[in-house]
Structure formats: C-alpha cells, structure tokens
Amino acid sequence: MRIFLTLTRRELAAFFVSVSGYVIIAAVTLLIGWSFVVLMTNLGSDPSPMPVTELFYRTYFFWLIVLLATPIITMRLFALEKFSGTFETLMTTPVSDLQVVAAKFTAAVIFYTVMWLPMLPCLFVVRHFTDQPGSLDPGTIGGMYLGVFLVGCLFLSLGCFASALSRSQMAAAMISFVLGVSLFSLGFLAQAITVAIQWKTRLLSYFGLFDQMNNFARGVVDTRTLIFYISLTLFFLFLTLRVVESRRWK
C-alpha cells in the first residue's frame, strides 16, 4: 500500500509538473466554458423542460472532451516510461505489476476529476441566476458527477491499456482514441439497426454510452449501467495488467 501511494504521488506529480497537464486543463476549461455559453444563449431564446445538467450532456462538447482528453491523459503512463527506459528501473525494484497499474490508473483518474472541476462554477452561475430551485438539485449534480466519473474511468482504463501496448505516446493516444470512438459509436449502431434481430439490438443498446449518460444527468442511477461501467473498466485494467506482465513470459 505504501508503495502504491508513493507511485501514485509520483504519477500525479508528473501530471502537474509538466506543462502538458496544464494545457489539458486549460483546453478543457475552455471547452466547458464555451459549451456553457452556447447553452445559456440557447436557453435564453427558448425554454427547455430538461435539467441544465442533461442539456449540458446533449452538447457534443462533453463527448469531445471525454474522447479527446482521456487519450492525452493516459498516453504518457506506460509509453513514455518504456520509451525513456525508466520502465526498466521501475520494474526492477520490488514493486508488483498490480501496484504499478493501479497507481498509474488512480493518478489518471485523480487528474481527470480535477480536470472537471471548472464545471462546478458554471453550475453555480446557473443556480445563482435562476429563480427555479428545482433546476439544479444535489441529486442531479451528484448523478451527473458519478456519470462523468464512471465514463472517465472506462475511457482512462482503455487509455492505460493502449499505453501499455506501445512504446510511442502518439501510437498510444491513437489506439485509445480509436477504441474510445468505437465504443462510443456502438450505442448509435443500436439505434441504426432497430429493425434487425432483437437480441443484437439489445446487446448493442447496453453499450449506448450516450443514453446512459443522459440518465445520469437526469439523476437516474441505474445499477445495470453502474455494473456495466465498473466491470468494463476492470476488464480493461485487467488487460493492461496482463500486457505489463507479458514481458515475463514473452
């Protein structure tokens, strides 16, 4: 556990010491702010029955942030260490592969969470200037953040896996981006082939990240989605662990 904490601290420090960490945060803040402004303008012209949080997820900016930022956050994790050779010094200390994977993933998740913080002030602005207290209740916000967190974990675990596969950060980012986009579009596939065989549509609809996110934004936490996200995240982390271990039997 001590080693896990030491590793996590270093990984986190690496995010915040380098410029790239701040660039990511700045870009995300910009995108959040921009989508917020667009949203407010639209709301000003015609009212909507949906909660603000849901409206926010209806904007494609949200998915753009998730799909683009996660590969950039995770690309460094293993690929850079392999490239610079520090992976060798790391793995020849008495640390276990599991500790390394867990620490890297945890650090990425913490960074990701920090990255979403600029969202909070936007919501407070809404709260402050609307006369309807129901437009933003803690449940909706909590559900929304849970959703953001779970989607993030899933995409970050994907990114970890991609980074463990490659020695090049660029390749790692591209692999995780492609995997992420594919996963994301599976849900749309379900809508496109509704006429086809029942079980296939149903299977695909489980992957409807977009719809699931809308539920979260409405404050609906479905255990099926919860299990779906957690198990898929763990699955990709497991794959990452296997890739890291693979050098022992390759």
């Binding site: 080693i3 520090t86 060798e88 020849t92």
Partner: protein, 324 residues
Amino acid sequence: MAMNENAMIEVKNLTKRYAGRTAVAGLSFTVARGEIVGLLGPNGAGKSTTMRILACYLPATSGTVRVAGFDVFYQSDEVRRRIGYMPENNPLYTEMRVREYLKFRARLKGLGWRRSRERVGTVMEQCGLTDVSRRIIGQLSKGYRQRVGMADALVHDPELIILDEPTIGLDPHQIRAVRQLIKSLAHAHTVLISTHILPEAEMMCNRMLIMYDGKILAADTPENLQRLVAGKSQIIVELAAPATVLRECWSQVPEIEHFDVSASEGEFQRCALTPRDGLDLRPMIFALALRNGWVLRELTRNRHSLEDIYVQVTQPSEEEEEES
C-alpha cells in the same frame, strides 16, 4: 539443488533467445560475495541481456539464475530487494529533483520514511551529489546524472550492484570519479559491471568475464589473463650500431627466439626481440651495449595489455572496440 553459500550470482546454462536471434547461449558463471566482476565484450555480445535477466527484468529462455540463493524467476521479489541495478543509458525521471528522486526510489525499494531519509543523505554524500540535491535532474550534466543513477542503485544498500556501462559517455575526469566510487564499494557489496572499455575493467575488477556472441570466452583475474599471452611479449631496443653487427649479435643469443632489425633516424637501429618463454632480456642487452660502447636510446618491454587478449579472443571484432 546444491547451493554455494558463498556465491552471490550463480548462472547455469543461461540461454536467451529473442525472436530469431540468440542473445545469450548457454552461459554459466558464478560470482562470489564481495567480488567486483567485469563483464566485458563488444557491443551486442549479450552483456546487457545477461544483466537484465539478473535484474529480473527479462525472463530467461532456459537455464537457471540465482542471486543470493534466490531464483530470479520464481523469487523475483526477494532478488529485486537485494539488487541495485543501473540500466544502460541510465534512464531517470528528468522532471524530478535529485533528492526527491532518490527518496522516491528509496521508498519504492521498501525503505521506511526515516530510513530512506537517512540513506538518501548517505548516498548523496557518497556520490558527491550534495551540492545539486535540489536541482532538476533534466538540467544536470551527464556526469551528475550518472552519479544520480549510481546513487539510486546504492540507496537501499543492496547486496549486489549491477551497473550496465556505468562510464559510457563520461569525460576522463568523471570516469575516474566513477571508478573510485566503484572501487570503494568492494567488500561491502558485490559488484557486476559491464563495459566494452578494457582498461576500465582492468583497473576496477578482481575478475573479468570476456563475453562474445552470447558466450563466455575467458574468465579470470586480469593478471592471469595477462599471463596467458605474456609469452609473446616483445622487447624493443634502439641502439646506435650498424645493422649487420646487430643482426650478427642477436642471432648468437640463444634466449632470443626471433628478432627484427629496422633502421631508425640517424645511425640508430630499432630492434624488436621476441624472447623465449617470456624471459626478461633487458639487463643482458644493457650489458651488451655497455660492452660495445653503443649508445642506447630505448629499452622497453612491450607488455601485452589486456587489449591484446581482448582482441585475440573476440576476433574478428569491430575496429571501434580497440580504439576506446
């Protein structure tokens, strides 16, 4: 399995194959506790691969490797606790500060908070890093970085220290400092160093393993290896005397197996004499010159350095190896 109590490293029939290429082929050697052993060989001889296997980074294709009695594959944790390993090119986290990095590494290697603080202080002093403890590693010179790598290998006071090319890319002054440091580690630690620079191994090691093409060609102390080729040592004499007289003279000495006379500047003649059984002919030659009243300008015994052994056993190796 019989275990040698005194052996720090036991390698038996170690083979490592990468896809389509054999890097190490049936290697066997032992290193006793407290020894400084040099693993010597041209680039691509399998030195780094051997060290990586010893450091539990790569698995062996076949054969057994034991460090301090623990198997590197099955008891990898125990082995890793006992070794300090510095890979080739000394990779470091360049964004960290020296003290911070060493402390991080000490913690990773399982040292407690207080102990790691204490050890970091000790190794920084040992490696001459105290002045740069707050500097960012990426901004340090290569010599300092190398010292950071060494400090990292030493920080948990390991039984075995494995250094892969510790002096590569350093200037002579820095090389000397690193060499001193490694020598100071003797007795308390077992050290395995790889290098392709011969004089370095000659100076630092108690024993050398000469590797070529994944095999060990020779393993002995530098002195013994030298004796191996001493029989072929030559004596170089420069005398002011007519060449014909000299030829006549050398052919009458029974101890000289072979001689070669060539003209030098002025009236000097340069003679290369090969004595029988490595005898030292110098006093005899001096006496001869004195008796005949010849001016003697040079009298040297050309001791075969390890370089010759090295070139001899690793032939045909690249020219670059001999230059360094």
